[in-house]
Amino acid sequence: MYQQQQQKQSVLTEEDLAGGILSDLKRIVREYATAATESTCPDIRQLFTKLTDNTLALQGQMFQAMQQANMYNTASPALRQELDKQAKQYQQTKQKTNQFLQQTLGGQQSQTLYTPQMQQSSQQQQNGQTHYM
C-alpha cells in the first residue's frame, strides 16, 4: 500500500512516453484527414478538418519539444547529387506533361506554390513572374 503510493515512477521512460504520444499523434492526423475526406455532412467534414489542423499543430509542438530535449535524431540531409538527379528528372517529366497539355488543351501555364521567403525577391528579379519553374 505505502509502496504503491510512493512509487510514482512509470515503467516507461519520459522518452518512451513522449515517443508514444508523438507516433500516435501522427496516426491520428492521418485518421482525421481520412475521416474528413469520407464525411458526407458538411458540419462533420468541417469538424474533422479542424481536428486535422489542431492535431497537426500538436504533433509539430511535440516534435519540436522532443528535438530540443535531444530525444529525436533528425534524418540525415539529402545529398546534392540526389537533389540534382530528382530535379533533372522531374524537369523532364514536366516538359513532357506540358507537351501533352499543349496537344490536348492548347497550352496552359501553371504557377508554383513553392515560394520560400528568402529566395522570393531574387527569383522575382530574374524571371519576373514565377519561381522554381
Binding site: 510514482k8 515512477q9 512509470s10 516507461l12 519520459e14 512516453l17 513522449a18 508514444g20 504520444i21 500516435d24 499523434l25 491520428i28 485518421e31 482525421y32 481520412t34 475521416a35 469520407e38 464525411s39 458526407t40 455532412c41 458538411p42 458540419d43 462533420i44 469538424l47 474533422f48 479542424k50 481536428l51 489542431n54 492535431t55 500538436l58 509542438q61 511535440m62 519539444a65 522532443m66 530540443q68 530535449a69
Partner: protein
C-alpha cells in the same frame, strides 16, 4: 441545414474519441512522471486540447441525435 449523420461518420467519431481519450491518459502519465519542464508543460496543455476535441466530437453526436432514424433505411 444539418443532414443526418452516416453510420461511417459515427464510426469515425467513436474511434476518434477513443484516440483522444488515450492521448489524455498518455499525456497525464508524462505530466506525472516526466522531468523535462518543456515536455511536461506541453503535455499538460495538450490534455486540455484533447479534452476539447473529445467534447467537440461528443457534441457532434448529440447534435445529430434528434434527426437520426430509428429504423434501418435502405
Amino acid at each position: 441545414m444539418i443532414q443526418p449523420m452516416t453510420a461511417k461518420e459515427l464510426e469515425y467519431i467513436a474511434d476518434s474519441m477513443s484516440n483522444e481519450d488515450a492521448q489524455i491518459k498518455q499525456c497525464a502519465a508524462l505530466v506525472a512522471t516526466g522531468t523535462t519542464p518543456a515536455l511536461t508543460s506541453l503535455a499538460s496543455q495538450m490534455i486540455q486540447t484533447h479534452q476539447q476535441h473529445y467534447d467537440s466530437l461528443l457534441h457532434a453526436i448529440s447534435h445529430h441525435q434528434q434527426m437520426a432514424p430509428t429504423q434501418p433505411q435502405q
